[in-house]
């Protein structure tokens, strides 16, 4: 039994003692390219345990988005191995479709349907569970509608239920995207620079909302940030990507930052490596 099917059956009675330390994402020496000439990701090896809050940080163009697309199978690697829930991720592969419905992917542009209401956008997350005929006539079962209303409340948009999404503010749009992802009853949440364009206060509200949801639904989160401080503040692990390579993998232990990649605990050296990344 895979982690995904197990998690979906235990979703309603999430019990802390059942959290396993299973590896949910595994990458071994992964290389990726868009044009078969230049590799935008090189030698990426990482493993993410179930329940982790994992952050990927790096400058723009370093390959963060590409890394997320490899995880949900929108892209496949040129070399190397990826396993997500012990399967090879590929959106074109029907076998992976079931797992796909359990991966909440929030792209940087959010990908909301602008001309429909907030609640209708949230209900899209339930589509993989709805029969084709019913979804064609937009008939959602009552329990799914109730679930959507609950999530609407959770993300604090109960007052905007029937508002068209193009009328919402940047922060509200992000709440809708999070709600749509949660509606998938996800096991894994992938978010691409979800707070990069927001002011500090709103960014914090959104990060807190994700942290709450993560605890509540026992999610594994992989979040991409531009700003390393966000990663260090909210994640257990922070992978620093530079020009397609993972140069650091940081974790916070007590009040110290540790680089798990090199085993380095010297704050001075970590800082130096990190600064070369920034410059």
């Amino acid at each position: 039994m895979t982690l995904f099917s197990k998690a979906s059956s235990t979703h309603s009675f999430s019990n802390l003692s059942t959290i396993s330390t299973k590896t949910i994402i595994q990458m071994n020496d992964v290389w990726a390219s868009y044009d078969a000439k230049n590799y935008v990701l090189k030698e990426i090896t990482l493993s993410i345990n179930s329940g982790t809050n994992y952050a990927i940080v790096g400058q723009s163009g370093s390959g963060k988005t590409t890394l997320l697309k490899l995880i949900n199978g929108m892209m496949t690697p040129s070399k190397g191995q990826i396993r997500v829930d012990y399967q090879i991720p590929n959106t074109k592969n029907d076998k992976f479709k079931k797992s796909l419905s359990k991966i909440g992917y929030i792209p940087q542009n959010l990908g909301l349907v602008k001309n429909i209401s907030v609640i209708d956008n949230i209900l899209i997350g339930a589509l993989p569970r709805i029969s084709k005929v019913k979804s064609f006539f937009k008939i959602f079962p009552q329990n799914e509608i109730n679930e959507a209303e609950k999530i609407l409340h959770l993300v604090g948009l109960e007052g905007k239920r029937d508002r068209k999404t193009y009328m919402l503010s940047g922060g509200e749009k992000r709440r809708v995207a999070i709600a749509r992802a949660l509606m998938q009853k996800p096991v894994l949440l992938l978010a691409d620079e979800i707070v990069s364009e927001l002011d500090h206060v709103t960014a914090r509200e959104i990060m807190d909302l994700i942290a709450d949801a993560q605890k509540k639904f026992n999610l594994t989160a992989v979040m991409v940030h531009h700003d390393i401080q966000l990663g260090l503040k909210y994640a257990n692990r922070v992978a620093v990507i530079k020009e397609g390579q993972k140069i650091l993998e940081l974790g916070v232990e007590g009040d110290k930052i540790v680089d798990f990649q090199s085993g380095n605990t010297s704050q001075q050296e970590i800082l130096e490596l990190y600064n070369t990344n920034e410059s």
Binding site: M74, L100, Y105, I124, K132, F136, Y166
Partner: protein, 260 residues
């Protein structure tokens, strides 16, 4: 204005003159014909008011024909446009459909009407069929163009959660292209009423039948009644569609422009 533009304008004017000469279109005849217009105009003022009843009912028939033709044509055009959109289908599907649609559009509605009169006989039914064909050709093209122009962000995001292709179409593609659809349908209905008004010329029903017959027998006063009714109806429909467009479409289109 540079010399190159002057040269092009000169060539175009020369072409117009040469072609007019070729088809024997003489402006002098136009000027000489103006008094004839006065005769027609004078006869037109002698309108026969008791014909307004007939004119009204034949206009109603015309509107009904246009309405049925628009609704049925749009209903057929929508699924076709889904199949003709390049971003939703493989080449094998959209290429033949687009070719067939392009062929459909080369026929003006009056030619379709002649064809259907031969097929199903004189009367409004032939006219409705002609309007349906014309509507399919145009709405499908307008629709697959707006489907191809929709934002790819939600399409990518929603297909990455493992939905089926038809769920994607129903819940993302249709709502994203819908604001254009309403305005296209209004425009098509408006246009179809005008078109249907002349289909009577070939015996395919509607008010045009009366107009052409009265004109044939030089009864301009009677024809004028019918033409007046067409004029008023078209103005009314025009006015109504502007109202509807302002109310529903301007708002929706704002949404199309707002980027996240």
């Amino acid at each position: 204005m540079n010399p190159k533009n002057n040269l092009i304008i000169g060539i175009v004017i020369a072409a117009v003159v040469a072609m007019s000469y070729n088809i024997d279109a003489n402006p002098v005849e136009f000027v000489e014909g103006i008094p004839n217009l006065a005769i027609v105009a004078k006869e037109m003022t002698e309108v026969e008011l008791d014909l307004f009843g007939t004119a009204f009912w034949s206009m109603l028939e015309t509107i009904e024909m246009a309405f049925i033709g628009t609704v049925v044509g749009v209903a057929i055009a929508l699924p076709l446009s889904m199949l003709a959109a390049r971003n939703l289908n493989r080449k094998l599907v959209y290429v033949p459909i687009r070719a067939l649609l392009a062929a459909t559009r080369t026929f003006p509605s009056i030619l379709w009407a002649i064809l259907f009169v031969i097929m199903v006989g004189l009367g409004p039914f032939a006219g409705i069929l002609a309007i349906i064909m014309y509507t399919i050709g145009f709405i499908t093209k307008l629709q697959y163009e707006s489907i191809e122009a929709i934002d790819s962000d939600p399409v990518e995001a929603v297909s990455s959660i493992g939905v089926s292709k038809w769920q994607l179409i129903r819940h993302v593609v249709v709502p994203e292209s819908a604001p254009h659809l309403l305005s296209q349908i209004l425009y098509m209905f408006d246009y179809n009423v005008r078109q249907t008004s002349i289909l009577g010329l070939v015996g395919a029903g509607g008010i045009g039948f009366y107009i052409i017959n009265y004109i044939k027998f030089f009864e301009y006063g009677k024809a004028a009644v019918f033409m007046l009714v067409v004029l008023i109806t078209v103005l009314l429909i025009d006015w109504a569609s502007v109202k509807i467009r302002d109310k529903y479409i301007v708002k929706a289109q704002e949404g199309m422009q707002v980027k996240i």
